[in-house]
């Protein structure tokens, strides 16, 4: 069988913070048009692994391959250049700025260094309306918005710039039901466009219904990588909690 090249392959990633070993030989891969659920208990190392891919942190050891080639990701700009966009768990917005400024932060539209404010505003309005985000005025500083509105801006930002790989670290945690549904629809839509998505969530129900594969971590180590439907929800929960793989014939 002719396996396509994975979009992302993280091999034997280890990371320690001083004496604390957050990740030990963590591995993960992601194919185009695939949604992979990244699971694990609090502190399992999920966010750390995602931050390493996003360039927000660097691994102590291990390597990252993008489209089969070794990638050197030292900072967020490197990751972006590889088409990696991230929705961070802790909100990554500047409260003192409005939605368009946040959406275009670090890659403002400009001509000779002069901001193209009107264009950014228009594009921001368009991007936000795609997610049906209700924001009274684009000029409002985001610190005056609700958690969900802010989260939606983060999400719009990640999908606006032609990403190939999107990391979503608990994207629906701050959202209401309707908005969560929108995000799930969005994920389906992105998937159809061949984008690979890494989705961290503690909502086992969503994960079970909307991911193709799961990767489970425990204490910074891989427990299991499998097609989601090879296990039941209960089995997955049990692996997250115990950190020991459930034996199965069908396991990949």
């Amino acid at each position: 069988m002719n396996q396509p090249v994975p979009l992302v392959e993280m091999r034997n990633i280890s990371k320690h913070f001083g004496g604390l070993q957050a990740l030990t030989d963590a591995c993960l891969d992601l194919y185009p048009g695939e949604v992979v659920g990244v699971l694990g208990h609090n502190g399992a190392g999920k966010s750390t692994l995602m931050k390493i891919l996003a360039g927000a942190q660097t691994a102590s050891s291990g390597e990252i391959l993008i489209n089969g080639d070794v990638a050197d990701i030292q900072d967020p700009n490197d990751a972006r250049a590889y088409g990696i966009e991230t929705i961070y768990q802790e909100l990554a917005l500047c409260g003192n700025l409005d939605a368009p400024s946040n959406l275009f932060m670090g890659r403002e539209l400009h001509k000779w260094g002069f901001l193209r404010k009107r264009e950014m505003r228009r594009e921001a309005a368009e991007a936000l309306s795609k997610l049906n985000i209700r924001i009274k005025s684009l000029e409002t500083d985001v610190e005056m918005m609700s958690g969900g509105q802010r989260q939606s801006i983060s999400i719009s930002r990640a999908v606006h710039f032609d990403a190939k790989i999107i990391i979503m670290d608990e994207p629906t945690a701050a959202l209401g039901m309707e908005e969560s549904k929108k995000v799930v629809d969005l994920i389906q839509d992105l998937k159809e466009h061949g984008i690979g998505i890494l989705w961290i969530s503690h909502d086992i129900h969503d994960v079970y219904n909307f991911t193709d594969r799961i990767v489970i971590f425990h204490g910074g180590k891989n427990v299991m990588t499998a097609r989601t439907k090879d296990f039941t929800q209960d089995e997955i929960v049990s692996m997250i909690i115990s950190g020991t793989p459930v034996k199965k014939e069908a396991a990949v």
Partner: protein, 314 residues
């Protein structure tokens, strides 16, 4: 937002109203206040602090502070004086003075970003270093500067306004454009808002900060050029403590001390308000001791008002 709402919430509106009320009160108190002689005097007084406050605003909006501007001003002035007394062409001397201030600012920024040392500490160090160097270069003496270039800057008028005012106008015009119409300015506000976020979104935080401190150093040197013109001399002890006046102007203007918020133009009005208080109390014959008390009160009141405003925002 309605037009009225826009005007009401624009940061410049209230501070200008305060300045106008103060001007009106002083005019009522003394007919001398509004004479052209006094206004010219006031504008000359305000110019140096105003130029420094422009740089200081940028620094404070990034969430930092520059305590070294007074000393850097002195070192730049002394550089100019020393070169002129060594028969260097005044334009070249001026250029070297500007380069000296810019270099000091660059060093500040370099150490802050590379050494990860708090701006307060680095610029406090530079406050000592630059002042000390000014004294070392001159051996403590003040050079007299009788070059026409500087006499013109210090004493002439253009279209009825003293020349230093044009330095102020150009400075604020350029900085305003930079802060609100350039990508660089957008980055400065982002860094002041949440530095970690700015970094995650790919803003080259260290490079932008380095630029900001360099600009502050350059503006200190520009203020030195005006100072040399006004004094017709370059005493190495000039402008001691002026950094606190620049910082006060920024605070009175309502620029947030924690960064990320405020309009540079308000620092100009802040500087004007301080100058009006000093000038007005002089005219009214109130002792300079009381002036210090009053300015202290105004600074605290300004921040208190600002806190009330941000409390209302939340």
């Amino acid at each position: 937002m309605t037009m009225f709402e826009k005007i009401r919430t624009y940061p410049l509106t209230w501070i200008v109203v305060v300045a106008l009320v103060l001007a009106f009160a002083l005019t009522m108190a003394s007919p001398y206040f509004l004479t052209s002689g006094n206004i010219n005097n006031l504008l000359k007084q305000v110019s140096i602090v105003a130029i420094l406050a422009a740089g200081q605003s940028m620094v404070i909006i990034t969430g930092g502070i520059d305590l070294s501007v007074g000393s850097v001003l002195a070192l730049s002035a002394v550089t100019i004086g020393w070169l002129i007394q060594a028969d260097v062409h005044p334009l070249i001397a001026t250029f070297c003075g500007l380069a000296m201030g810019t270099l000091c600012g660059f060093i500040n920024g370099f150490i802050i970003t590379r050494g990860r040392i708090a701006p307060f500490i680095v610029t406090l160090g530079m406050l000592g270093i630059a002042r000390g160097m000014a004294l070392v270069i001159t051996g403590g003496v003040s050079y007299q500067i009788l070059e026409p270039l500087f006499l013109t800057i210090g004493n002439s008028k253009f279209l009825g306004l003293p020349i230093p005012i044009y330095f102020v106008i150009v400075t604020y015009f350029v900085i305003h454009i930079v802060m609100h119409y350039r990508v660089f300015g957008q980055h400065i506000y982002a860094i002041g808002g949440e530095e970690r976020v700015a970094r995650l979104q790919g803003i080259k935080v260290d490079r932008e900060k380095l630029k900001v401190y360099t600009i502050s150093g350059f503006l200190a040197a520009l203020a030195a050029v005006v100072m040399v013109g006004r004094l017709a001399a370059t005493p190495p002890s000039v402008a001691q403590g002026i950094e606190l006046q620049a910082i006060a102007a920024v605070i009175i203007g309502g620029i947030s001390f924690t960064g990320g918020r405020g309009l540079v133009l308000t620092a100009l009005v802040g500087a004007l308000i301080m100058a009006m208080i000093t000038n007005g109390l002089n005219i009214l014959g109130i002792s300079s001791f009381w002036q210090q008390v009053l300015i202290g009160v105004v600074i605290i009141a300004a921040v208190w008002l600002d806190n009330l405003k941000s409390a209302a925002r939340q």
